[in-house]
Amino acid sequence: MNCMVCGRKTESKFCDLHMGAYKSLLKSYEAWKRAMRVSWAEYLARVQNNEFAGLWVKEVVRYLLTSGSLEEPDCEIEL
């Protein structure tokens, strides 16, 4: 299959590069939740507009927002 973001060949939903960004997104959500009590959707929107967020993170966020994946993910999920 192809990466949902960039179209690179991959065996999961995202390629290695975007998977790394997605994992980073999941990992940082805990800190955001603790600090700002934001929902997953709110978190994504804020990261999208943050000047320090990485390019691949923003691409993953854009995909999640446009594909309607706004449910808080289970971090243990295997992709």
Binding site: L17, G20, A21, K23, S24, L25, K27, S28, A31, W32, R34, A35, M36, V47, N50, F52, A53, G54, L55, W56, V57
Partner: protein, 694 residues
């Protein structure tokens, strides 16, 4: 009548030959002669006729015995004249022929190239191949500056043999670079060409691969970075009408509530000074410049890339204004005679007072650094003053080198730091002051110092302080910084890959291949994909440890503890399975690289976001009917947007990476041969063009 005996002195460049000839000729007036537009000089010394002939950098290069670029692996290499192996090296033919002719009339040979690994290797290949095996009985001049005194001394104290262990290490480096560079680059280029049918140069190398990997790893961290929020307290106090920033005892808080609680506790209240701590510290002078130190300072002060600094320093060396710049040493031995250099510099009004200040000291002892170089001392001004006025960059760099040289002999500076602790309703704030009490060495290095003094009024314990401002500041963690040319150079140096002479060139190659762009090096998709392919099919090639191991082996050869043949055999035995894997996976490698190249070409054609639909991208397209190029929106292929704009049909068009200040459309850059690049808005009805018409 006794026929004078010819001594052939071989140097690296024509300007060096002129310096050496002028220094060694008894009357200081050597004859300049030409054969086939190749200059050489004839000088007289001690009843001997000296023929001083320059090279043109390397005249020989290592080339594979199988020249066909589609064949790999190749493990047999040989030294060949550069004109046989490289395009645009045609002029080296005349130089080799002239040196060869002059060598037949000489009975003694002296190597007077730069005293380093490249200078020795370059001279050795010419002595061996152009002069008919004269490497074995050639003598050697060793010098670190092109001043008359040092050149005469070097000739008087000539070394009886050329430095064979250094040459063996240099030859080994050339063979290893060719072995890796040619085989891996051919493997990648051939794979991509076989898959796509299109030729594109793809390259990697023994040092290039690991260097690109550093950049890729950093780029991955930046692109996958998610900032996390934190809060800090921003506060200032007013003392005697002056405002000073103060720091809260904790740099950051994890929640906004915590930070707001601190602000609420302090707002509108007065604090009391709990403690005033004064510390004095001596700051030693800076150490003399080695090559990388000079490159780092010139980048920090003037934004010169390491390559540019290297080129400027080389020009200053050839003008005999500074010592040999490609040195690792941070030491200034007494033999350079610092007192004489300062006396000479004092004749320039700009340095008169400073030099006299140092000369009044009984002893001149530099503050040396730890790094050493057996071949050359640290970089220092020779004491020669420019005969003609220097260009801006040369003048700046020379002044920096003079300033640093003088500063190293200065006395330590004395600085004072003050830390005032202010207690405020159970919270602590710190007010910091910094002051230079005695300038010491700083006097000599003033234009290049970045001092940030904060002078505080007299403050005492128990004194009340009013806060002018206190607020919570929303902040986010930042991603790691991208490498700049100097930090990348430092990283290569710390990891022990490449040499001081080759690192800047390797970084430039990464740019010219399109793997990296921008002053803050950002990796292109092509750079990612090339690294990805190498990581998947031959990880050893981009491994720092393997490259470092080879560098260590070459150092052992130079110190006489290892043999070149062993190192090359080891490298071949490790490269063979890698190339075999690449060959077995040629289709997949070709497919991955072709796709990466296709995307890179596509990316080059994108000019910017389509301003008409806001969804697609504007790309350079070619009309099937007329073959003419124009700008069209990618949305056209999905039936979403019909935006299109005409383009000039001549010259190379690329994105200018900026938008029109009048209409906000992306701008393009047009490059035509012999003309300066032209950046303009492609929109024909852009209001800026109306203004021009009026």
């Amino acid at each position: 009548v006794v026929t004078p005996k010819n001594v052939l002195l071989l140097c690296e460049k024509p300007s060096v030959a002129q310096h050496i000839a002028s220094a060694l000729d008894e009357n200081g007036k050597p004859q300049r002669r030409l054969i086939s537009r190749v200059p050489y000089y004839v000088a007289q010394r001690d009843s001997r006729r000296l023929v001083i002939v320059p090279a043109l950098g390397h005249l020989y290069t290592v080339a594979p015995k199988i020249a066909d670029r589609n064949v790999y692996p190749v493990f047999e290499f040989e030294w060949v004249p550069r004109y046989e192996a490289e395009r645009n090296a045609g002029e080296t033919r005349a130089w080799i022929e002239v040196i060869s002719k002059l060598s037949q009339e000489a009975e003694e040979f002296v190597l007077a190239t730069d005293y380093d690994i490249e200078g020795a290797t370059l001279g050795y290949t010419i002595l061996k191949y152009a002069c008919g095996g004269k490497d074995q009985n050639a003598k050697r001049m060793k010098f670190s500056t092109l001043t008359t005194n040092e050149l005469r001394k070097s000739y008087a104290e000539i070394i009886s043999r050329i430095e064979f262990p250094t040459i063996e290490a240099g030859v080994c480096r050339h063979f290893l670079d060719a072995l890796y560079g040619i085989n891996l680059s051919r493997a990648m280029t051939v794979a991509a060409k076989k898959w796509s049918g299109r030729y594109a140069t793809l390259s990697t190398g023994r040092v290039q691969g690991p260097t690109l990997k550093f950049l890729v790893d950093r780029e991955k961290r930046i692109n996958s970075f998610v900032p996390t929020p934190f809060w800090s307290i921003k506060a200032s106090v007013e003392i005697d009408g002056s405002v000073f920033e103060v720091e809260y005892e904790k740099d950051m808080t994890d929640t906004r509530d915590e930070a707001e609680a601190v602000v609420n506790d302090c707002i509108g209240k007065k604090g009391k000074i709990a403690d005033v701590e004064v510390k004095k510290l001596q700051q030693k002078p800076p150490v003399p410049f080695d090559f990388s130190g000079l490159q780092a300072e010139a980048y920090g002060l003037f934004r010169y890339t390491p390559r540019r600094t290297g080129d400027i320093a080389q020009r200053l060396y050839l003008e005999a204004l500074i010592s040999y710049p490609r040195t690792s040493s941070q030491k200034l031995p007494p033999a350079i005679n610092s007192r004489a250099i300062l006396e000479s510099l004092s004749h320039k009004p700009r340095y008169t007072k400073l030099a006299e200040h140092l000369l009044s000291q009984e002893k001149l002892v530099p503050n040396e650094g730890k790094k050493q170089d057996q071949a050359h001392p640290a970089i220092y001004p020779t004491g020669n003053l420019p005969e003609k006025s220097l260009g801006g960059p040369e003048r700046r760099l020379w002044d920096l080198i003079v300033g640093r040289f003088m500063a190293t002999f200065g006395k330590p500076a004395l600085k004072q730091g003050v830390k005032v602790s202010i207690e405020m309703n159970g919270h602590l704030f710190f007010l910091r002051g910094r002051q230079v009490l005695r300038e010491g060495w700083m006097v000599f290095y003033k234009p290049y110092l970045r001092t940030d003094e904060v002078l505080l009024p007299r403050l005492e314990k128990g004194q009340e302080i009013g806060f002018k401002d206190i607020a919570v500041k929303d902040r986010f963690t930042k991603p790691p910084a991208r490498y700049n040319p100097v930090s990348l150079l430092k990283k290569m140096e710390n990891e022990g890959i490449g040499t001081k002479a080759t690192r800047a060139g390797i970084i430039e190659t990464l740019y010219s291949r399109g793997y990296v762009s921008g002053e803050r090096a950002s990796v292109s998709e092509l750079g990612f994909d090339v690294t990805n392919v190498l990581e998947r099919y031959c990880p050893e090639v981009i491994s720092v440890s393997f490259t470092r191991e080879l560098e260590e082996n070459m150092e052992e050869i130079q110190s006489g503890n290892e043999k070149m043949d062993n190192v090359i055999d080891k490298a071949i035995s490790r490269l063979k399975p890698v190339l075999s894997d690449l060959k077995n996976n040629q289709d997949m490698v070709g497919q991955d690289l072709s796709e990466a190249l296709r995307k890179a070409r596509m990316h080059q054609r994108i000019v910017g976001d389509c301003p008409e639909c806001g969804i697609g991208k504007l790309v350079i397209l070619y009309s099937r009917r007329t073959g003419k190029r124009f700008l069209g929106c990618t949305g056209f292929f999905k039936g979403l947007c019909k935006a299109s704009f005409p383009l000039p049909q001549k010259g190379a068009v690329t994105s200018a990476q900026r938008t029109c200040p009048t209409c906000g459309y992306p701008m393009i850059q047009l490059r035509m041969k012999g003309k300066r690049p032209w950046i303009f808005c492609f929109r024909l009805d852009c209001p800026s063009k109306e203004k021009n018409k009026q």
